[in-house]
């Protein structure tokens, strides 16, 4: 059942939130040891929340648009009193003293939080192998990675542990795992969803968004979490874009551009699916052409200067003083250095080093300053493209899910997994990944729809049309085993 179907049945009193939850807990019990999507399954809290939803329905109240819908939360979203680790030793056992705004909002909409999902440590990675608590496996093939960094959330949805999940996307961390796991994943416009309570990675890029089995469910969750929040200074004023209203409006007359630069270096079988997706949109009335956004070729380089620079600053707070791990030492400086050496994994250290270097005296202009100027060029080139088309189409990732361990020794090869998703983060634009058939290896392929800032209504509309046209039921392999 989709989230929409569950909420409809629970609100109408045809189905109890308790039964829905127990069914999902049973599935988790069956496959979680193999998949390892979760850092923590919050069984007791979830049962209490489901019971409360059922009581409210019995009293004739409406618990909200996500009534009784199980939701999995990426473990970098703060949950009051519930451990929030970011899959890092440095935060192991930390219980935040407050809830993230998105957590409050999904609960207020009637959702039942089932657990905290695994991620690459502090969301730095593309395979969920950089977790201090061990990798998550792809439910379609456990020898493959689920993508990352929201790999736990994507795997949880693909394995049927929860119909919807929340992730965070700094350079593709929602969309790339969604593509590799055969589910839908959306990164909204920067500022549409409050990041209060999201543990910061790269503040000018981070954005929270939904993962789901259907485009309609992703839209449902987005509407529940979007909207201004005075607690986040980057939150956009005014109402969030409404996406559900126009979901089934079709794509007649919509102008779609295939983003030429993002088709470079993509595996032929993945590219073939993307071309089929473009043809499918043309078949149902969209005007499709090829469009160039030249500066996107610099996206990867700019991202891997900007994101580590901001991370090195954001992660300075993990110093063993206020929370988390502390290593004993005779003086405070040694305590900082030992705590951070012990608490952070290799990829986090690598990015802190890279970012500290890019920001250090003598290098700032050549690296960080220069990358920020490239960001301006990318925004400018996107603006020119969006004068000709309404949305852009591209592959989500250059390959299907790769083997566990295949790229762990070569950071640059791992970074290349994000080449198609990064430009949207640098521009602050929304983008969504939709499953569209499989590659030659039988594993899911994702196609990405990109839109200009606040272009979510068009983006979801095109995504819904692609979902209808997709060959075979999306994510069949994972669901078949439910």
């Amino acid at each position: 059942m989709t989230g929409e179907e569950i909420a409809g049945a629970v609100r109408a009193g045809r189905l109890s939130a308790r039964d829905v939850l127990e069914e999902h807990l049973e599935r988790i019990g069956g496959r979680e040891p193999e998949v390892h999507a979760f850092n923590l399954v919050t069984v007791e809290d979830a049962r209490a929340a489901a019971a409360e939803i059922d009581r409210r329905v019995a009293r004739g109240q409406d618990p909200g648009p996500l009534a009784g819908v199980p939701v999995a939360l990426k473990d970098n979203l703060c949950t009051r009193g519930i451990p929030t680790t970011c899959s890092s030793r440095i935060l192991e056992g930390w219980r935040p003293p407050y809830d993230a705004t998105v957590v409050e909002r999904v609960r207020a909409a009637g959702a039942v939080v089932v657990g905290k999902t695994n991620l690459d440590e502090f969301a730095m990675g593309s395979s969920t192998e950089n977790s201090a608590f061990g990798p998550t496996r792809n439910p379609h093939d456990p020898t493959r990675v689920p993508g990352g960094s929201s790999g736990g959330s994507a795997a949880a949805v693909a394995a049927g542990f929860a119909p919807v999940a929340l992730g965070s996307d700094t350079g593709g961390s929602i969309r790339q795992p969604a593509a590799l796991c055969g589910v839908v994943g959306a990164k909204p416009t920067y500022g549409v969803v409050s990041r209060y309570g999201l543990v910061a990675f790269a503040s000018s890029l981070d954005q929270i968004g939904p993962l789901a089995t259907t485009v309609a469910d992703a839209a449902l969750v987005l509407e529940a979490i979007a909207g201004h929040d005075p607690a986040d200074s980057t939150s956009l004023p005014g109402a969030a874009p409404s996406v559900r209203q126009t979901l089934d409006a079709g794509v007649g007359g919509v102008r779609v551009g295939v983003l030429r630069e993002l088709t470079e270096g993509v595996d032929p079988d993945v590219l073939k699916r993307m071309r089929e997706a473009a043809d499918a949109l043309a078949d149902v009335g969209a005007a499709v052409e090829e469009v160039s956004v030249p500066a996107t070729v610099y996206g990867l380089s700019a991202y891997y200067l900007i994101a580590p620079a901001e991370a090195s600053s954001n992660l300075a707070r993990y110093d063993g003083v206020r929370y988390g791990l502390r290593e004993r030492a005779p003086d405070v400086t040694a305590m900082y250095s030992r705590t951070r050496a012990k608490g952070f994994g290799a990829e986090v250290k690598r990015r802190i080093m890279l970012g500290t270097y890019a920001l250090s005296a003598g290098y700032y202009d050549a690296y960080y300053g220069q990358a920020q100027r490239v960001r301006t060029l990318i925004i400018r080139d996107f603006a020119a493209a969006y004068e000709r088309v309404d949305v852009l189409l591209a592959p989500t990732a250059p390959t299907t899910a790769f083997a566990v361990g295949a790229k762990t020794e070569n950071p640059l090869a791992m970074y290349l997994s994000d080449v198609c998703t990064i430009p949207s983060n640098l521009a602050g634009h929304p983008a969504i990944s939709i499953p569209f058939g499989t590659g030659d290896d039988g594993l899911p392929v994702g196609v990405q729809v990109l839109a200009p800032a606040l272009g979510e209504p068009d983006m979801f509309r095109v995504a819904a049309a692609l979902e209808k046209a997709a060959p075979g039921p999306a994510g069949e392999a994972g669901r078949g085993e439910r």
């Binding site: 070729v297 700019a302 890279l354 500290t356 220069q370 640059l412």
Partner: protein, 258 residues
Amino acid sequence: MEVRVERVAAAETFALRQRVLRPHQAVAEMALPGDQDPDTGHFAARAHDGTVVGTASVRREAPPWDPGHASAWRLRGMATDETLRGSGIGGLVLAAVVDHVEARGGGLLWCNARAGAVAFYRRGGMATHGEVWEEEHIGPHVAMWREVPARPCPTMPGVAARISARDVAHVARLARLDLTDDELARFTEQLAAVLDHAADVASLDTSAVAPTAHPLPLRNVLRDDEPRPGLDREEVLAQAPDAEDGRFKVPRILGEAP
């Protein structure tokens, strides 16, 4: 005529190359091995209306006379629109290629030149190597080459081209990270690889471009300064590694009297 030379996707160069250099082949046959390598650079000169009027590509490849050469670059697909020859477009494209090689540590730049283009390459500082040979469908060719010096970071003269173990150790101290010798060696190599990849960004001319710090033009907002409840002190301190008298406790701070 005024043109703008920019780094582009490989496919952008195919149409002109096919028309000017390889009319006996199809556009689809213009793709070459190594086109997608991160170090490969494809360049196009564009007229005011965006039309591609000049092209070139450069990739890491050793010359046939020195197959073991570790830092050689092969120039390929150098083409200029037939109607615009002699207007300096080729020179601008070649300069972009040399710039690309300089920014990546320099090395031997070589190509197989058509006999008619030898004078052009000589003006670019290149010399011939070996005998002229006949290439089927195309005509007489000769190999040409030059050395391109490594360049320090262009926007920051004096910055070393490659990060050293000493730099990495210094950065680790700044970041308050104790590194083992093994980590130091590994990070030096891995950071150098990432920074090499970023050389294309470091070498772009962006003097006329303003930096973007945040993607959306948001203005700061102020609220009234009214007292509101904050986090519960006991709840917060309960999460601290060490606390005393309602405060966080840390070990001795250097230089302080015990």
